[in-house]
């Protein structure tokens, strides 16, 4: 029997919500807080306040695969080179956490993967050091230069990348429909072991919504986005501008054969789902860990007290912290 694609995809998103893993998230937040404090204590006036970034900050995280990212904005005069900055942060983190975690240099970040705890939880935090582009201007322009430690698309290793993390977060944060489609594409990526960068999927989804005026229900929006990727990613001159730096073309992080592959995968998925809607379950599976819980709660909306109306007069005085 054909499935209701819209309702099925809603269930997929529900079962992948981060709120299902709140206790694990608390551990992540605790680790992130202690790392930020350690960095602030060590680098004192060399840095501005570290900033939360990544998928959790952008509300595009899924509970089957996530990490928390922290951007550390260094002042212009803190280090003479970006490489020196990157190596110094690595050394500090390795000295501080090396006995309880694997600390490793990644493309533009330093990954800290804490050894599994008693609950078999492995906490992973990525630290992204960046140096302000213009002296004493970070609070105004939010522009940072990142060190590119290893080859990053067309960017060679030991080079730099100008970006604006805050602009990247703003770019996606208030786009509700786009975020749903991004989360679905990340679920596809994660459950089918696809290696495409999440940032690229974010940008191409937002571009699809902008260019193709995508609307409709959840399935219709996903279908239109997949069609957009299928039809456009391989086109000559197709660009995906980093909202933090329009000079970064994130489409360049894919080689041309990878673009062909992505287009073909979108075509195959669309064709197979068209043949049989049940195939949607292969590409976009529910998270079985939270399926049962979800079934009991999925219809729960905002509530009104028994016998009351929505008209409310709040407490006379109320303190927040």
């Amino acid at each position: 029997m054909a499935i209701n694609k819209k309702e099925y995809l809603q269930e997929v998103l529900e079962t992948h919500k981060m709120s299902h893993v709140n206790s694990l998230l608390d551990k992540y937040r605790d680790k992130r807080k202690s790392i930020k404090e350690a960095l602030e204590d060590y680098y004192t006036d060399k840095i501005y306040s570290p900033l939360n970034s990544g998928s959790y900050a952008k509300h595009t995280a899924i509970n089957t695969k996530f990490d928390l990212d922290v951007v550390v904005p260094f002042k212009k005069k803190s280090f003479s080179t970006l490489e020196e900055m990157f190596d110094d942060v690595f050394d500090f983190l390795n000295d501080t956490y090396g006995t309880e975690a694997t600390v490793r240099k990644q493309k533009v970040s330093i990954g800290i993967i804490f050894y599994k705890d008693d609950d078999n939880h492995e906490i992973s935090i990525d630290i992204v050091p960046g140096r302000e582009l213009n002296e004493d201007q970070y609070n105004e322009d939010n522009k940072l230069n990142l060190y590119v430690n290893s080859k990053y698309g067309l960017l060679a290793e030991k080079t730099h990348l100008l970006t604006n993390i805050k602009a990247q977060i703003e770019h996606i944060k208030s786009k509700d429909n786009e975020r749903k489609i991004i989360r679905l594409l990340k679920i596809w990526k994660s459950s089918n072991n696809e290696d495409y960068k999440s940032f690229l999927m974010e940008l191409i989804t937002v571009k699809a919504f902008d260019k193709d005026n995508i609307s409709g229900n959840l399935w219709e929006m996903l279908e239109s986005t997949m069609e957009y990727i299928r039809d456009n990613i391989t086109k000559d001159g197709f660009t995906l501008s980093d909202p933090g730096n329009s000079g970064n073309n994130v489409a360049d992080t894919l080689e041309s054969w990878q673009k062909e592959n992505l287009s073909t995968k979108m075509k195959n998925m669309l064709d197979r789902i068209e043949d049989n809607s049940d195939n949607l379950k292969i590409y976009f599976p529910v998270n079985p860990d939270f399926k049962e819980e979800d079934n009991t709660k999925s219809n729960e909306g905002y509530g009104v007290k028994t016998g009351a109306s929505t008209f409310s007069v709040p407490t006379q005085n109320q303190r927040f912290g």
Partner: protein, 148 residues
């Protein structure tokens, strides 16, 4: 809960600007809006700023003095608009809610003249010149659930 929150960009900017004016102290206000027919989507349409308040870098206390008339007027509109929650800023701090925030939302929900049972809390992390980040939390059964 299977719910959504929608806020127009213009209103978000208005809230951010009100918060920045009070930097480095916290500031906040009331959220006005309405639920969709199936009670799944909250449309936030307006904010009311408190006429009386006390604030510091780490706390904000608002009074609801004088807002009842405005709430009645909003409820007479089509669609009816009503109190749906609260917002406040965390200057140079995260969007994570505090225990004081959670207790405030418990007290609000349990208050006799509050008809809604899942008020929304919006927390904005700001600096002296702009918004760092913002989060919505939906109150449910003595917990604040981060809106995803």
């Amino acid at each position: 809960m299977d719910v959504e929150v929608q806020i127009p960009e213009g209103l978000l900017n208005k809230i951010v600007n009100a918060g920045i004016k009070m930097y480095p102290k916290e500031y906040g206000g009331f959220l006005i809006g309405f639920y969709s027919e199936d009670f799944k989507i909250l449309h936030i349409t307006e904010t009311i700023l408190p006429s009386e308040y006390r604030n510091s870098k780490y706390s904000f206390e608002r009074s609801a003095k004088g807002i009842k008339g405005e709430l009645k007027r909003l409820y007479s509109l089509n669609p009816k608009q009503y109190y749906v929650g609260e917002w406040h800023t965390h200057p140079d701090n995260s969007t994570q809610f505090s225990m004081t925030d959670l207790n405030a939302m418990i007290e609000i929900t349990e208050y006799k003249t509050v008809g809604i049972s899942n008020p929304t809390l919006m927390i904005l992390s700001i600096n002296k010149s702009g918004l760092n980040d913002f989060e919505f939390y939906v109150y449910n059964d003595k917990k604040l659930l981060r809106y995803e």
